[in-house]
């Protein structure tokens, strides 16, 4: 196939060039193709060849015969297309939409799901994690000691490394900033096969408890934060709590884990009390497979190792299983379900576009039968006629393709407007997808444009001239066209139902009660510098800060918490209940947050039982806690939990806390996620440098933020302030991925509806033209224009009904795939199905309106005379 294409393209070179190099080029092509086959190479070779032919011909315009005919055909095709601009425009726009959105969508998928990692032999890289058996996406990772066991004993891995995120406060510029980095074990860089740009990477000695801290910078951090200082090696970097020395800088091409700015040696910067624990899941692991080994081998080996570990260390038991998957999959796993569905959707759009083009080409071929037959009668060879039609189809495909590329480029540029997800920024256009979409649509163009015409030129010349365009052939074509349009409508229904379900879910999510009053809240995240050494100084600062902010005009309440609702990321610990003999971890995990006493009041979280915290709940008193309803319902369904004692965290380290109250459930991890067990602890019994601040105002919270920020800065210039926004903005952020899915799928459904409407219009308009004489006779015999219009509308509605009948069961079947994206709706929701049917009927009526009106304008006398 490819060889044939190249051979033909080589033929297009000027004769003398072709004679000297033609055979040699083909041989060279064969070598190249054998060594590196694939869509990418194919696209490169073809584009280069077409361009070279063009350049070579332009420089050498003597021309030979075959080329002259090509130009002639092209010019002639342009002329004919210009004569029917409506047809040409619709075909080109349809092609452009089909090609454009598909190319854009697949380019995104390629970037997020399939592109291989830029490391040596990326196929052999895997990630190994403990996950929950029912839900493999609930990833626990690994504890440090078990990672060391896995590393030492797994025979099917060449090497294994630990990786863990770390967010540290950097104090280098005028204001402190939080910078994202990774702490990694020393195997990390050699495992991935990367070399530093400057200096060195970590040695085993760097990666030890008590070793003096060192750091490797990313190229990004080196250039943006240190001005690409050539003397950076040996310099100290000032983070809160640790001041490592720079030993290396990685090249710009290396940024793993994605968007990391620096790397620290894990054992040196992590407290030994954490790295020693068998029940602290603090890291994830990556491994490089030995040649010939599979992820399955690793999974069974690590499971065996874990079985022995659990014998010796019962506190590590959680009933987890080991999951090994290609490292590549880590990048896009959260987007995968949505992307796969959107790709299905965009594929349907392409099918509908092809159907439309096919139907349009059929109409045109029918309308041109007579022209072709006349040309044949005048002596045009059949080959010549077919070739000319072929050129026309190719011209349309080419124009549509160029417009499609433009659209794809624009779409990928606009993506960041819809979503702030970094993976969707700067998506490169994928050449192989482009080529695929081009070939698919060009194929449709040619098949439906050329085949009918070929058959047309085969008819007996005399017959066709006599009978006009209404032979048995045109009936066949009308039938084919109706089948095409019915299929288009059915596909369109699938897309409409899917997006209606997403829309419904979106509305349900927005109506979820978050459990607190989200309006009128300004929020900020703050972090004190390590100069605040003891609890008293931290508490002193925050108590002064809340008093001062409370005094600002327009503020009715101020509160502090370690983590505000909605965005998750809370600390969690195993639950222990006094008198309950369950093993560690068996009762489940509880998220905790420390809050100031007025937290529930300011946030608007109702108290269900007992009391909230008071000023007296400080470090000098018994530790206390407030729990949520979910926890009460599960553990004390028929009793009062107030007064019961619990522990959260490692059993032999945590203190007993007395439950003093129960509050209503709050959506801590986002509106559509489940409500887990959560507990609130008094800030005064465990102050923290990093806190979140919530300020209630009856006015505009956004307008209050600069005043609060300025006030805090005045009090402590070294205070880190980030994520200053309104609570509503944070909620909007949390539902942004859902909105993105809705908008994109809705866009596809809209396109599908538009294309189907155009298809319906085409069929009905064509039928009206074909039936002019019939309508004329009917009207001459006494039919009113209303009768005629009804006839036309009925045809359109018949097609839509057929499409719906096929489409609805298909949609119900297909929407099962959607279930992971739905919230609070079933896939067979009757209201959704009914509204889709209604919308489709309305659009059908609109599409048939013009042809129906035209039918009523037929004058019987003219219609009868017409032929």
């Amino acid at each position: 196939m490819m060889r044939l294409l190249v051979k033909h393209l080589i033929r297009l070179f000027p004769a003398d060039f072709r004679d000297s190099y033609g055979a040699d080029m083909l041989a060279t092509f064969e070598d190249r193709w054998r060594e590196r086959p694939g869509p990418r190479t194919a696209a490169r070779i073809l584009i280069d060849l077409v361009q070279s032919v063009w350049l070579e011909r332009r420089g050498n315009s003597k021309g030979d015969r075959s080329m002259r005919t090509v130009w002639q055909d092209a010019r002639f095709a342009l002329r004919t297309l210009r004569k029917s601009p409506g047809f040409a425009t619709i075909v080109i726009v349809t092609l452009a939409l089909g090609i454009g959105v598909n190319t854009a969508m697949f380019s995104v998928a390629n970037r997020v799901l399939w592109a291989s990692l830029p490391f040596a032999q990326p196929d052999r890289l895997v990630s190994v994690d403990e996950v929950e058996p029912q839900d493999p996406d609930a990833v626990w990772g690994a504890t440090y000691p078990s990672f060391r066991e896995w590393q030492a004993q797994t025979g099917s891995l060449e090497s294994m490394s630990a990786v863990s995120w770390t967010n540290r406060v950097l104090r280098e510029g005028s204001e402190p900033v939080r910078v994202r980095g990774a702490s990694v074990s020393h195997e990390f860089f050699p495992l991935l096969g990367v070399q530093p740009e400057l200096g060195r990477v970590f040695t085993p000695d760097d990666d030890k408890t008590g070793a003096s801290a060192v750091i490797v910078l990313s190229h990004e951090m080196w250039t943006t934060r240190f001005g690409a200082d050539p003397a950076i090696l040996g310099r100290t970097v000032h983070f809160d709590g640790v001041a490592p020395t720079v030993v290396g800088v990685m090249p710009a091409t290396f940024r793993y884990p994605p968007r990391t700015e620096y790397w620290l040696p894990m054992a040196a910067v992590t407290s030994p009390s954490l790295t020693a624990r068998w029940d602290f899941w603090m890291l994830s692991t990556i491994g490089r497979l030995k040649p010939g080994r599979t992820g399955q081998d690793v999974a069974s080996e690590v499971s065996g190792i874990m079985a022995r570990v659990l014998q010796a260390h019962p506190e590590a038991r959680r009933g987890h299983i080991i999951r090994v998957r290609p490292l590549r999959d880590d990048l896009g796993s959260d987007l995968r379900p949505a992307l796969l569905i959107l790709m299905g959707g965009v594929g349907l759009v392409l099918l509908i576009a092809c159907g439309n083009v096919a139907s349009l080409m059929l109409v045109r071929a029918t309308a041109r039968t007579r022209e072709l037959v006349i040309r044949a009668a005048l002596g045009a060879g059949r080959r010549r006629l077919v070739r000319q039609l072929f050129t026309e189809g190719a011209m349309l495909a080419l124009c549509g393709g160029i417009a499609g590329v433009g659209l794809a480029v624009l779409t990928t540029r606009w993506l960041p407007l819809l979503s702030r997800d970094w993976r969707l920024a700067n998506v490169p256009i994928d050449a192989s997808v482009l080529l695929f979409a081009l070939i698919a649509t060009a194929f449709t163009c040619l098949l439906f444009g050329v085949l009918p015409a070929m058959r047309a030129t085969r008819v007996e010349t005399g017959d066709a001239l006599r009978s006009g365009a209404r032979g048995s052939q045109s009936r066949q074509r009308a039938a084919a066209q109706q089948v095409l349009v019915t299929a288009e409508v059915a596909l369109c229904v699938v897309l409409l139902v899917a997006s209606a379900l997403l829309l419904q879910s979106w509305r349900r999510v927005l109506h979820v009660d978050p459990g607190f009053r989200a309006d009128g809240l300004a929020i900020l995240r703050v972090n004190l510098p390590p100069t605040y050494k003891d609890d008293a100084s931290i508490q002193g600062f925050y108590s002064r800060a809340t008093t001062q902010i409370a005094g600002l005009p327009g503020v009715t309440g101020v509160t502090l918490t370690t983590s505000l609702p909605i965005s998750g990321g809370d600390g969690t610990g195993d639950l222990t209940i006094e008198g309950n003999p369950a093993a560690p971890g068996e009762l489940g995990a509880v998220t905790t947050r420390s809050t100031t006493p007025d937290y529930f009041n300011v946030m608007g979280i109702p108290l269900v039982r007992g009391r909230t915290f008071g000023e007296h709940d400080d470090a000098s008193r018994q530790p206390v806690a407030i729990i949520n309803q979910a926890m009460m319902r599960r553990f004390w369904p028929h009793q009062d939990p107030v007064g019961k004692r619990i522990k959260i965290g490692t059993r032999n380290l945590a203190d007993w806390m007395t439950i003093v109250g129960v509050v209503k459930d709050v959506r801590n991890d986002g509106l559509s996620s489940d409500i887990g067990y959560s507990a609130y602890l008094p800030f005064a019994q465990g102050p923290d440098r990093g806190m979140e601040l919530a300020v209630r105002t009856p006015g505009n919270p956004q307008g209050l933020l600069p005043t609060i920020t300025a006030q805090l800065r005045r009090m402590e210039p070294a205070l880190l302030i980030d994520r200053a926004q309104t609570m509503q903005a944070r909620i909007d952020e949390s539902v942004a991925p859902r909105r993105l899915n809705l908008v994109v799928l809705g866009l596809f459904a809209g396109l599908a509806l538009l294309l189907s409407a155009v298809g319906l219009y085409g069929v009905v308009a064509f039928a009206v033209r074909q039936r002019t004489q019939e309508f004329g006779i009917r009207m001459a015999l006494g039919a009113t224009s209303g009768n005629v219009a009804l006839l036309v509308l009925r045809q359109g509605l018949g097609l839509a009904a057929a499409g719906l009948t096929l489409g609805i069961p298909a949609a119900i079947a297909a929407s099962r795939l959607l279930s992971s994206l739905l919230f609070g709706v079933t896939t067979t929701n009757p209201a959704v199905l009914a509204s889709v049917a209604l919308l489709l009927t309305a659009v059908t009526l609109a599409a048939c309106w013009i042809p129906a009106w035209r039918a009523t304008q037929i004058r019987p006398t003219e219609a009868l005379r017409a032929e």
Partner: protein, 105 residues
């Protein structure tokens, strides 16, 4: 001597080691430039054709009937040398003005 275009320069450089056929030139250029310059067949043969008519390379007779070998001519060698000298001079200048670290070249 006019400045050689980068692709021309790389083809001449590839042929400086001895006669090669089309695919070998393609691969040598790709290797020499670390994959930066990949001449697909269309461009490659257009360039070869032009270099032949410029007289800096020519065809060689070979036992392999399927393939045509190319070799550098004396004029080609001269052009290559003068271009290399020009580039070397450029690098000295760039280094002298501290635009490139020593180790990188």
């Amino acid at each position: 001597m006019p400045i050689l275009k980068p692709a021309d320069f790389h083809i001449l450089l590839a042929l400086a080691g001895g006669p090669l056929h089309g695919y070998a030139i393609m691969k040598q250029v790709e290797r020499d430039t670390g994959g930066e310059v990949i001449l697909e067949i269309g461009s490659l043969y257009r360039l070869l054709d032009r270099l032949v008519s410029d007289g800096v390379i020519d065809h060689v007779d070979s036992a392999d009937e399927r393939r045509r070998y190319f070799r550098i001519t004396a004029a080609g060698r001269k052009a290559l040398k003068s271009e290399a000298a020009r580039l070397a001079n450029v690098i000295t200048l760039v280094r002298a003005r501290k635009l490139l670290p020593e180790a990188d070249v």
